[in-house]
């Protein structure tokens, strides 16, 4: 049995600096992409000087959240399923000086928390949201998600999924988020840059990460449980915006678009507007 000190030595220097050794090893399945995103998030924190004193990690419910919960050495606030942005609203409005990084999943954000997601975008709440999209409900055992492709055979769609998947980035853009991007979890450089931009952009930053899930999505939908094969499948089925420009609609059918979809630096959000308004109201009373 390894002691906590041994574990700290075995940890990556970034992890040892920012994560709680007593919470290691984390709960991800072999081949899960969530660890990639945690790593990229720590890269961003390191570059932007975000630490336990000035940054709160916020979670919902699902693989994205259960794996990241209580890893961060600072505050970890884990909401009920889908309520992550409601809880984040209360915290960010009350403590605008703190940074909030929200770890949510496709089920948490796009399904049970869909309404809160829409309104967090509309209010342009100044937090950074990372939506881990594994296109399935992983933690509960592989049920169909609002992001599962048509035809996907899951535990609750044994005859194949009949519903079209949701494009959460399009929703975020339409609803008014300042920053919107999508990457594969293995696009370390782009993802790290995106998280940094998201943190630096005022207003709601929404970054969707395609997370390979060999245990559920790979095994039941793709028919492969080898993590390398699942990562390859994502590589083959995703195209950058630049590459997509030269492709026909037929060629793009069923492909994930990768890249930055919105970066509206001039757009203010509720936090800034609210506290500006309070200042004016209070001055008006003097």
């Amino acid at each position: 049995m390894k002691t906590q000190e041994d574990m700290a030595v075995a940890m990556h220097p970034l992890a040892a600096k920012y994560l709680r050794p007593e919470r290691m090893p984390h709960k991800a399945c072999p081949g899960c992409g969530i660890g990639h995103v945690v790593h990229c998030t720590l890269n961003a924190c390191e570059d932007l000087n975000l630490n336990a004193d000035n940054t709160v990690w916020v979670q919902g419910v699902g693989c994205s959240s259960r794996i990241s919960y209580t890893l961060w050495k600072g505050d970890n606030i884990d909401a009920h399923h889908g309520r992550i942005f409601a809880v984040a609203t209360g915290m960010k409005m009350s403590r605008p000086d703190l940074n909030f990084i929200c770890f949510t999943g496709d089920g948490d954000c796009a399904s049970i928390g869909g309404n809160h997601f829409l309104h967090a975008c509309r209010r342009n709440l100044d937090v950074t949201a990372l939506m881990f999209n594994n296109s399935i409900y992983g933690m509960t055992g592989g049920q169909v998600a609002p992001t599962s492709p048509v035809g996907a055979k899951t535990q609750t769609t044994p005859y194949g999924n009949l519903e079209d998947p949701m494009d959460a980035c399009k929703v975020a853009m339409a609803a008014g988020a300042s920053y919107v991007a999508r990457w594969n979890s293995t696009d370390f450089k782009q993802l790290t840059n995106s998280i940094k931009k998201g943190i630096q952009t005022k207003g709601f930053s929404f970054i969707e990460i395609l997370v390979p899930c060999p245990t559920q999505y790979g095994r039941y939908v793709l028919g492969v449980s080898d993590p390398i094969e699942v990562v390859k499948w994502y590589k083959e089925n995703s195209v950058t915006l630049k590459k997509a420009e030269k492709m026909s609609p037929e060629e793009l059918e069923g492909k994930f678009l990768l890249g930055e979809f919105a970066h509206r630096e001039d757009r203010t959000g509720i936090v800034e507007r609210y506290w500006d308004a309070v200042k004016k109201i209070q001055e008006g009373r003097k």
Binding site: R66, N76, A79
Partner: protein, 385 residues
């Protein structure tokens, strides 16, 4: 548009609740429009920015209660308000508040149900809902019920103080009659209002236990907030004393014991009843909230008719006042319980607490109107025959 309230003013119960919240130090409000609680939101939307607080109209009831949970974690005294259909939705978030020992206040301005029912009219159908509605049981709900506009103000302040003292969500169980009645409200000077402020830990973070499982009865226990450097952990899962998720029965037992015992170990602080005409009473009428006023009138009518009737009203309705009810049951023959639901919610608790010492009768109505004193008096005459 709500108007500015003077120190001594003729206002609605809902406005008194909003002013009570401001006086209590509430600086974060989130709500969703619903009759008959909307006036509270309207008042706070005007008042909170004036005092440097936050007033949010959220996208739904669920978001409202979760956002005040977030505000509470961030150190704010926080409030949400609603009525029946909205309270049903809020119950999900309430569980998060109970489990994580979050201090905040929920106001339920009860209206006639089930479902949307009669939105603009009174009832008392949420008595069990506020106590047992949040799924999973093992809860620590404290609920206070005002009978007047002045009490709506005073008890709102007390709800905030109790929330901080006990680190738990506290209900103000009001009703449409109290919420919409206009009466004289006298707001005391700030210096006359006693407030409980959140305690911060005095030990370093590595020595601090967020949840004191070894002393489950502890009250006034410190609650560090986000940004205080304590690395707090708050989640929907059963937690250890540091807030880490656990599935061990031992940990789960310790957590639920903590949640329940901090309240049940301090019943002396959580029991308050108003009694009238009880000294030589042979019969009693027990009622809470808006029903207390016609109930007292009925007791007086009985006295005028030569019947030795007494009156009792719990101000704290949860935890239920078992002791005071038992004492009354031990000295009277019969107890009448008028209430605005036909389930017999409140009367069932009275009967339970009476432990067979007196016969307990339920006078129910589905709501829409409060009972008239005459109706209660007629039923009273019938049961004592």
């Amino acid at each position: 548009m709500s108007k500015a309230i003077k120190r001594k003013d003729f206002v609605q119960g809902d406005e008194a609740i909003a002013e009570g919240a401001i006086a209590a130090g509430c600086r974060y409000f989130a709500g969703y429009p619903i009759t008959p609680a909307s006036e509270i939101s309207e008042c706070l939307a005007r008042r909170l920015p004036e005092v440097g607080g936050v007033a949010m109209q959220m996208e739904d009831e669920i978001a409202s209660i979760h956002s005040i949970g977030g505000a509470s974690v961030a150190g704010m005294k926080a409030l949400t308000v609603s009525s029946g259909p909205g309270i049903s939705l809020k119950l999900e978030g309430l569980g998060w508040g109970i489990k994580n020992e979050l201090p905040y206040v929920v106001v339920d301005v009860q209206r006639a149900g089930p479902s949307n029912g009669v939105a603009t009219r009174v009832a008392q159908g949420d008595f069990y809902t506020v106590k047992y509605g949040s799924a999973g049981g093992n809860n620590s709900i404290i609920a206070l019920a005002p009978k007047s506009v002045q009490e709506a103000f005073d008890l709102t302040i007390e709800c905030f103080n109790l929330a901080e003292t006990f680190r738990t969500p506290v209900f103000l169980l009001a009703d449409e009659t109290v919420g919409h009645t206009r009466e004289l409200l006298e707001i005391p000077e700030d210096s006359e209002i006693e407030l409980v402020e959140r305690k911060k830990p005095t030990v370093p973070p590595d020595e601090f236990l967020m949840y004191p499982f070894d002393t489950p009865e502890a009250i006034n226990y410190p609650y560090p907030n986000i940004g205080d450097g304590y690395g707090i952990c708050v989640s929907p899962y059963t937690h250890t004393s540091r807030g880490y998720a656990t599935e061990a029965k031992k940990d789960h037992d310790r957590m639920v014991q903590r949640i329940v015992k901090k309240v049940t170990s301090h019943l002396d602080m959580l029991t308050r009843c108003e009694e009238e005409l009880m000294d030589d009473a042979e019969y009693a009428i027990i009622a809470y909230g808006c029903e207390a006023r016609p109930a007292l009138e009925a007791a007086k009518m009985a006295r005028e008719a030569g019947i030795k009737a007494g009156f009792m009203r719990p101000i704290f309705v949860w935890p239920f006042p078992d002791e005071p009810v038992f004492k009354i049951a031990s000295k009277v023959k019969k107890i009448l319980v008028p209430e605005l639901n036909i389930d017999g919610q409140f009367s069932r608790e009275v009967a339970r607490a009476a432990k067979g010492q007196a016969e307990v009768y339920h006078l129910g109505s589905g709501g829409v109107e409060t009972h008239l004193p005459e109706e209660i008096f007629e039923e009273f005459k019938r049961i004592i025959k």
